[in-house]
Amino acid sequence: MQNRTIETGVGLFLLAGILALLLLALRVSGLSASAATDSYKLYANFDNIAGLTVRAKVSMAGVTIGRVTAIDLDRDTFTGRVTMEVQKKVDNLPIDSTASILTAGLLGEKYVGISVGGDDGLLKDGSTIHDTQSSLVLEDLIGKFLLNTVSKDAK
């Protein structure tokens, strides 16, 4: 009966739509099934966070271990305070680890890279990373370069 074709057609259509949504979620945006509770908070203060945005990656040795969840101005120290959610299973970060704001690729976006220190004490939920390296701003870089050249010539 004509009804059957219509119902099958609509059913397929709806399935296709849902499939599209799933594809978009998993393959295109790389949504993973990890729950939010599997993470703990870490803070870090930077002199300059220029270019870093919320939802940027937090990675160590190139492996993504978390996300930046908030960026605020610390009114007492006048530095940028970055809040990060790091996966719970990475719970052995030493207290003297370094957080740097790096660039992915030449025109890429900024992300936070964490490199290990050597201390025995470990970072816990709510700890602050003290050793930080700010984002590289192009103007500062050029300024440094010129300064170096000038001082070289001056020698």
Partner: protein, 265 residues
């Protein structure tokens, strides 16, 4: 032709303004009555399924073909521009973001307005002019619930689904062009894309846009049919109005939504 005096022109202008406001009011009442009015119809689900077929499934062909072509063109164009900066590997994320945030919802809505929207207007206008709507009333069936409501819901459901299918097909088409034809490395194509496409910001926002567009386009299409003059010219004028108004509304709303979602407020 009689020459119109200035006073007359001003009066006509005022009359048009009032008419436009009246149309908005009428269409608002129309919408609320159709969606939320009392007196549901038995077998309403069957009607909805039938409309989903004629509105959604029948639009699949044009959506899929257009999506594929647009995705492929985006990939081609994007590649040549990005090559200037040595960033060909970013073509994946460019195609995906463009489609998910903008072209998916907008182009699908425009195509939908042209294909399904005009068909709805013509169908309802035809029912009006052959007095089918009056017959329904006389038999005791509310045409707003029997004819209009299923078509409204069908549009609200179909367009977001079509927009997602459009984006997926477009991304796939773009990937085919980029990877198989232009030689972008498959791994970095998808990896870059996954890294920069955020589900909640890009995919969901795109879906929200298409839901808003679905609402507006279907509402306009159905109202124009219902409100038209019951003559053949009336119907053809109404069909044109549907396509024009719906397209303008989509583009205007797109700007507002984009500013709200992706602007820096």
């Amino acid at each position: 032709m009689r020459k119109k005096s200035l006073m007359e022109r001003i009066r006509l202008l005022g009359r048009s303004a009032i008419d436009i406001v009246a149309v908005f009011g009428r269409s608002g009442i129309f919408l609320v009555h159709a969606l939320f009015g009392r007196g549901g119809i038995s077998g309403g689900f069957q009607l909805l399924v039938k409309q989903l077929y004629s509105v959604g499934v029948m639009s699949l062909a044009i959506i899929v073909v257009s999506g594929m072509f647009i995705g492929m063109v985006l990939s081609l164009q994007g590649f040549s521009i990005l090559a200037n900066y040595g960033s060909e590997q970013a073509v994946g994320q460019m195609v995906a973001l463009t489609l998910l945030r903008e072209l998916g919802p907008v182009v699908t809505a425009l195509l939908f307005a042209g294909r399904a929207g005009s068909a709805l207007t013509a169908e309802i206008g035809n029912m009006k002019s052959t007095e089918q709507l009056s017959s329904l009333e006389m038999i005791g069936v509310d045409p707003l619930k029997y004819i209009i409501a299923p078509r409204l819901w069908a549009g609200f459901i179909s367009l977001p689904l079509l927009a997602m299918i459009f984006s997926v097909v477009g991304i796939w088409g773009g990937s085919w062009v980029a990877i198989d034809w232009l030689g972008v490395y498959e791994g970095s194509f998808w990896a870059n894309m996954q890294n920069s496409v955020s589900f909640s910001d890009d995919v969901i926002n795109g879906v929200i846009k298409s839901v808003v567009f679905a609402f507006v386009v279907t509402w306009i299409a159905v109202f124009q049919g219902y409100d038209c003059e019951p003559t053949s010219e009336g119907i053809s004028r109404a069909t044109t109005k549907t396509v024009v108004y719906a397209s303008l509304a989509v583009l205007g709303l797109d700007f507002i939504l984009t500013a709200l979602m992706f602007g820096d407020f």
